[in-house]
Symmetry: C2
Subunit: 410 residues, 2 copies
């Protein structure tokens, strides 16, 4: 008998019919002798509807009241699923964030889980009851409702799995797992059987939208194996787990891309100590995340500094840098929103040389100019002109022989 946490996303519970299908799967899992904790997102479209209502009232609605509003979506789905389970004769009980409780800090709309009290859940599981927990939401120590930010239900699921010391955490979504790349770009993209936490972390943060980055950090930290799979089929999905020697043999696991960033270059800035700190401090203070940073070797006592930010932050970031230009002694500021980041991810890179040079060669052969390069132990990211995104993904996917013989069906 195992303790399994199953998380179902919005499309998996997007209608009454879907909720019945999900209830059947959960009932079956329990009847196979498992203890089951279910974490749900809101029905698809619901969170957007609620956020839309709030946006009609305020330009910056996020905060305490926003969290009260949007957390109601999960409240509805857990109640409906619990009803559906009971109707099938499967004992079930819903828990809101404050009922568990899932304690968080007070950063409304992007709260972090600090502690989960598993007492009530464990008592219900001991009685054979399926426990249905609202994802995405928590409560602070004063009893205020908080939410974890978009995709937060993944984090709820993994955090619960960690707190309960679960045997497995299954993330049910509308795709069958993690692919070597986006099947919409490469029709022969292959579903991966397993990826390591670190690989998944790179893939999640690089733009593969299967799992929220924070949930992968959690699963890595507490070593909770996560199975990403579809609630629409019975096909086995992708297991995100600890790296082992088998995995290291696979040099490249996948190719990801991200069209969500923009690039800013500060030209011929004074090449003196502390210049980078002065450049990025105002951005940090404005809450703007900087992703890639490239600084070229200087000449004539100056250097060019280029970095990327999320596209919604571009105008604000550009304005801030413009205002600093003279202070920094820079000759100019240039920006470009028409870029894409294409990345190669693989745990085996650590022990295999030549991946970087092969990547550059493949792109060069297609005449794709690389604007920025950034590497980690297990990934190589290249910024290219946005129009080359699909071409770059395709030639790299082929060059590293990631495709399967079968073509993914639409």
């Amino acid at each position: 008998m195992a303790l399994i946490v199953q998380k179902y996303g919005g499309t998996s519970v997007g209608s009454i019919e879907r909720i019945k299908v999900v209830a059947e799967r959960i009932h079956r899992t329990r009847d196979e002798g498992n203890s089951v904790v279910v974490v749900l997102s809101a029905m698809s479209g619901e969170t957007n509807r609620l956020a839309g209502l709030a946006a009609e009232l305020s330009e910056n609605p996020e905060g305490r009241e926003y969290d009260v509003i949007v957390s109601s979506g999960e409240q509805i789905s857990i109640g409906l699923l619990s009803l559906a389970l009971r109707e099938r004769g499967c004992e079930a009980m819903s828990f809101l964030g404050h009922q568990v409780p899932i304690l968080t800090d007070t950063s409304y709309s992007s709260a972090r889980i600090e502690f989960i009290d598993t007492g009530k859940i464990t008592r219900e599981l001991d009685d054979g009851t399926v426990v249905v927990v609202a994802g995405f939401q928590g409560v602070d120590t004063l009893g205020n409702i908080t939410t974890l930010g978009r995709g937060g239900s993944d984090t709820t699921a993994v955090a619960l799995a960690a707190a309960l010391n679960a045997d497995l955490c299954e993330i049910y979504t509308d795709v069958e797992g993690v692919y070597t790349t986006d099947p919409n770009i490469c029709s022969n993209a292959r579903k991966l059987e397993r990826v390591s936490y670190d690989e998944m972390l790179e893939m999640a943060s690089l733009g593969a939208k299967v799992l929220q980055t924070r949930s992968v950090e959690f699963s890595k930290k507490y070593d909770i194996p996560v199975m990403v799979r579809s609630s629409f089929t019975d096909t086995v999905g992708t297991l995100v787990c600890k790296e082992d020697s088998e995995m290291e043999k696979v040099v490249v696991s996948g190719i990801t891309y991200n069209k969500g960033e923009a690039k800013i270059s500060v030209l011929q800035v004074q090449d003196s100590p502390g210049i980078a700190a002065r450049l990025f401090k105002p951005l940090t203070e404005a809450g703007i995340n900087v992703d890639m940073i490239v600084q070229n070797i200087g000449h004539d006592g100056t250097t060019d500094m280029t970095f990327t930010v999320n596209r919604p932050d571009y105008s604000k970031a550009f304005k801030l840098i413009e205002e600093m230009k003279d202070d920094l002694g820079a000759k100019g500021v240039e920006g470009d929103t028409g870029i894409a980041k294409v990345s190669i991810v693989g745990a085996g890179m650590k022990s295999h040389a030549g991946i970087a040079s092969k990547t550059f060669e493949v792109l060069a052969e297609e005449g794709i100019n690389i604007q920025m390069i950034s590497t980690s132990e297990i990934k190589i990211s290249c910024v290219v002109d946005e129009k080359y995104t699909e071409l770059a993904v395709r030639v790299l996917h082929d060059a590293f022989e990631l495709g399967s013989d079968e073509v993914v069906e639409e």
Copy 2:
């Protein structure tokens, strides 16, 4: 400076535009120097939508999970209104039932308020913050979400007003107050300036849908004056308050009707002690409320017993009585769903004779047969054929000179 509880119904907060209008009124009330507690219903249509989703999953969805689902409607409206108030520069904070907390018993879907802890609310009011409380919902001592039944937000408002010792409770709705009768039937129906708690109690339970009966019981018990008024105009509404000598001069305050009942007659039942108890016990056990009961003087050792139940309970009640027929020694059971109850309500009836006979005369003149009669100190109810409902209301409204000279505009 007064402490005012304002409750807004579903149509009053039915859209973002309406929420802005309501926010303006609340802001104004606070800026006039008052402490303001707001109680909200769900946006109109929302509770029905949620109940509909639950009904798709279960024939009898009411219970713990149902309450989790339907209570989310108020969660959305209090969050939105608080946002709207803050956006206007009026400090506001929302409170869910469990955050106040409003403690209830554990009768899911029809819970009763047992205790309201006003500590948190009072602290916020002291800071000049408008407190926005979710109506209709509470929490039991184990932390389970409960709801108070349809129209429960009225009860939340009056209970809060009692707990806070408020100066006034205003119930904002889509009509301008309590009328002498339904303006859809009598175009000259007149808005009442004041009615006593007892009159309102009779009117509410007799079918005038302005206030939930339980909320009037609360306001009577704790002597909380309730002003029923429209959120769509600035017109002063109807004050429901303690009876005074002025009120007793008004013999008849209003005419109400109720088409929601059905009649069952048990014919020639043994006229022996305990027969009524034996007849009604199974109905009580089945949770069926019996309203009017009439027993005629017996002859030949038998009597006819007639009673009314809510129409949705009719089939079940009829079947139960049929099954008992032989045990009771009854000759037969008859039923009729085509009835209506028309009632005359007035605090002055206590001290004025002749109201009953005038009522019977007026109906007789129109050839309307009275099937059952039931009286209390301040009301007379007559059951008539449903098709005569509007006619009966109209002739009684005229006979007791309740109409105004002005015609109510549609």
